[in-house]
Amino acid sequence: MSNNKEWPLWEVFLRSRAGLDHKHCGSLHAADGAMALQLARDVYTRRQEGVSIWVVRADHIHASDPTDKAALFDPMADKIYRHPTFYELPDEVDHM
């Protein structure tokens, strides 16, 4: 636990254009959400990178443990039947 004079860390997500998803672009320190949004605007959208900003306090994110990676994800490696690659698609359907 950091001492309470430190500003908490916030993760910043930007939507670069209308219709696209918000993507994680970085993090910053700020005292609260309003300040985090303003500072995100100043730090991460100086070159027109975004049209919408989300900020989330980093300690509100629950993340998977990297040491669990093998248990969580390796079992999927041999289950190719979960990929919908066995269907015959009509030519009209692009980009599935």
Binding site: W7, L28, H29, A30, A31, A34, M35, Q38, L39, R41, D42, V43, R46
Partner: protein
């Protein structure tokens, strides 16, 4: 603007130059903070504001130079005038002081700009109206950002409150100058070029007092003190600002980089 512009009215040039000089000198003062902010993020925020103000100054100085018609461009006007030829309000040139003072001074000025840009959108000088229109979006954000700091620090810890109150006591008398009309303003207003400073006073005061109240700051008693930067009579700080801003350009005239 490609159309030939002739300033029929010498007050027109002076009126635009004053606005330009306010942006330029405050930009220079804020630039001094680059790398010295209390943390990385607000440091970038202040520097962005400095760059926005510099952008305004460039457009306004170029426009003033074109109106003047003597071949002076933005660089000639920024680097080759001496203090008495600058007409920014004294508020813009004062030393930065601590972070509270930097935020409050900048808030006072950008809040005044916000009123000015709104009124200038009706200017008969189409180029000036266009610059005001572009600048008003930037200024809206500057006001929000700096008002946020004034409130956070004023309504913050005992130390931050004391510093913001001290900044207010020091700076408020310098705002008297912002809303006083002189002959240049009267001539420019009569010609439809821009508003009288006095006409911006009520809206500026309301905006500023709302923020100061939220910041739990107490207004010092009003004073008849009036600074005179807009008339070209500056505080002692002005020569130091100009020395730093102009020395490279003057040491290497015409240099390109």
């Amino acid at each position: 603007m490609n159309a030939p512009i002739a300033a029929l009215n010498p007050a027109h040039v002076s009126y635009v130059l004053r606005i330009a000089d306010g942006s330029l000198i405050l930009a220079q003062r804020l630039s001094e903070c680059c790398g010295h902010g209390p943390a990385l993020e607000p440091d970038i925020a202040l520097t962005n504001i400095a760059l926005d103000l510099l952008g305004q100054a460039r457009l306004l100085l170029s426009h003033a130079g074109a109106l003047e018609g003597q071949g002076r461009d933005e660089d000639a006007l920024a680097y080759w005038r001496d203090a008495s030829q600058f007409h920014n309000p004294t508020l813009c040139e004062l030393p930065n002081g601590d972070f509270a003072q930097i935020c409050l001074r900048t808030f006072f000025y950008v809040a005044w700009q916000a009123q000015l840009w709104t009124a200038l959108s009706a200017s008969k000088d189409a180029a000036l109206a266009a610059i005001a229109e572009k600048s008003s979006k930037e200024t809206r954000y500057h006001c929000e950002h700096l008002a946020g700091w004034v409130v956070r620090l004023g309504d913050g810890t005992a130390d931050s409150h004391a510093r913001m109150q001290r900044a207010l006591n020091y700076l408020l008398p310098y705002t008297n100058e912002l809303c006083v009309d002189d002959d240049i303003d009267l001539a420019a207003a009569a010609a439809g070029i821009g508003p009288l400073p006095s006409s911006l006073n009520d809206a500026w005061t309301a905006q500023v007092q709302a923020v100061l109240a939220e910041a739990t700051l107490s207004l010092p008693a009003s004073t008849p003190f009036r600074s005179s930067g807009r008339r070209g009579q500056h505080s002692e700080a002005m020569d130091y600002v100009l020395a730093e801003m102009q020395s490279v350009a003057r040491a290497h005239p015409g240099a390109q980089w």
